[in-house]
């Protein structure tokens, strides 16, 4: 028994890595199409967008780094599709240098997608992307007072003052809703200087690691909802009625979670077995 326990405890880490790699790759090649249940947290963001009348302006903040793209991009795409299908007007911005490119990619994908389905979007009228603006908290405070004066130009260098989408926008408070796509604590800054000072309603699309940390904000009513990680993304895709990147990623994530749980149980079984055998000796 002791020998078995020791053998299990000294298992080569490369075996664990290989099993994990298989668990990731197989569901990608052969999707399991597992069902997804929708949580109230994800519904909180969806319902808020559903409530807005067509023509309302929504702001999306691309506050995540390239490493988080596989997790956050599906949420960004889903939220943008939702807004634009509901004829809402979308303005994007990023307060991270590296978030700028993420936003640009998402805007390009969405514009191309709508063009292909015969409903082309007019840049500057239906959607606009302001790009990266420096200053973190000060930038948000300035956006609250003078949106166009703070942005000045969009990511292409076009004059913000001449954009029809920003015509009746004075400050951040003129937007009906803000969705923060983030992979760190950026949403807290938007809450502090956006929600608390300007009063803009906020929804969060977070990486799975960050989501538990903002449940207190949800409980306090500072957020309308949280779309957390691939799970949240897959819930949002289900709400919109399609299976996208988040849903297909959930198959791999499910198997990995089960595999890690199995490893934890096996490790503990071996540990307890060894302890038990040592006591007997």
């Amino acid at each position: 028994m002791l020998k078995l326990a020791e053998k299990l405890l000294k298992i080569d880490r490369r075996i664990i890595y290989a099993l994990l790699a298989i668990a990731i790759i197989i569901p990608i090649l052969h999707p399991l199409n597992l069902p997804v249940q929708i949580t109230d947290e994800a519904r909180g963001v969806y319902n808020e967008i559903e409530k807005l009348p067509p023509g309302s302006k929504v702001i999306l903040t691309f506050d995540y780094e390239p490493g988080s793209r596989p997790e956050v991009d599906p949420m960004a795409l889903a939220v943008m599709r939702h807004c634009l299908n509901r004829k809402l007007k979308v303005v994007g911005i990023s307060y991270l240098e590296l978030g700028r490119g993420n936003g640009e990619n998402i805007f390009n994908i969405i514009q191309k997608e709508f063009e292909e389905k015969g409903a082309p979007l007019v840049y500057g009228e239906d959607l606009a992307y302001m790009g990266f603006k420096p200053g973190y908290s000060a930038m948000i405070l300035n956006l609250g007072k003078d949106f166009k004066g703070t942005c000045v130009t969009d990511y292409k260098g076009l004059d913000a003052y001449s954009m029809p989408i920003l015509k009746d926008i004075e400050g951040l408070g003129d937007f009906k809703y803000l969705v923060c796509l983030h992979d760190s604590s950026q949403v807290n800054t938007w809450i502090l200087y956006g929600f608390e000072i300007v009063g803009i309603r906020i929804g969060a699309c977070s990486t799975a690691v960050m989501a538990p940390g903002i449940y207190a904000n949800l409980d306090a009513g500072q957020l309308t909802g949280i779309v957390g990680g691939l799970k949240g993304g897959s819930e949002y895709e289900k709400l919109l009625g399609y299976r996208g990147m988040a849903t297909s990623g959930m198959d791999s994530q499910t198997i990995i979670h089960i595999l890690i749980v199995f490893f934890i149980l096996l490790g503990n079984f071996a540990y307890l077995l060894k302890e038990h055998s040592m006591k007997k000796l």
Binding site: I16, G101, N105, P134, G135, Y155, D219, T254, I264, G267
Partner: protein, 230 residues
Amino acid sequence: MSFFKRRLPLLIVLFTGIVMMISYYVPHKPFSQFWDGANKWYMLIAGFTMVLGVVSLVRNHYRKIRQGKQGFGYSIVMFIAMIVTAVFGVIPHSESSPIWGNRSGSVFMWIFDYINTAAAGTVYSLLAFYIASAAYRAFRVRTLDATIMLITALIVMIGRVPYGEMFSDFLTNSIGKGLVFLRLDNLTSFFLNYPVVATRRAITLGLGLATISTSLRVILGIEKTYMGGD
């Protein structure tokens, strides 16, 4: 000299700190003007911090190459990457030369999509392998605290994936509706909405109080480490 080096910065911090505090609660002239002006200044200064970052990066890596320190080859790679990215990104984009600038189709965006994103994603995804290995080796039921943490982690991990939801459905639909409190998705939701929220609030309040006390120490000139030296 001591006045300009030590006293004047302290006086600026004292004045700015007190006026900004008052401005937050008194949104009227002249405080509102000071508030707006200071925030615009902050944005400009934040932009310039990038210059400071680049200068510091160049100095450190240049020193490493000049002294031939171990791993100086990586510094050369860093210089090449920085110069290539900066040159392609800074030269303005135009319809006739779309490879320049930082818009779609430019070399800069190609680097962003196919080098930066790919490399960052790879490093990030390696975490899954380390976590799996660490979970197998270190996550043990050694103490009561560790056992509680382990059980909670197992419930949340399974409760957040479809199989957990399917198992919960089986539990309540096939075994008995009375077992609804054992549904893994409900338990996960409970953990996230109550213990996590309570703990998070305690941490946030602690952080807030610590921030206030540190800020007051800086404003009143007690904490001077940001000036260098003591």
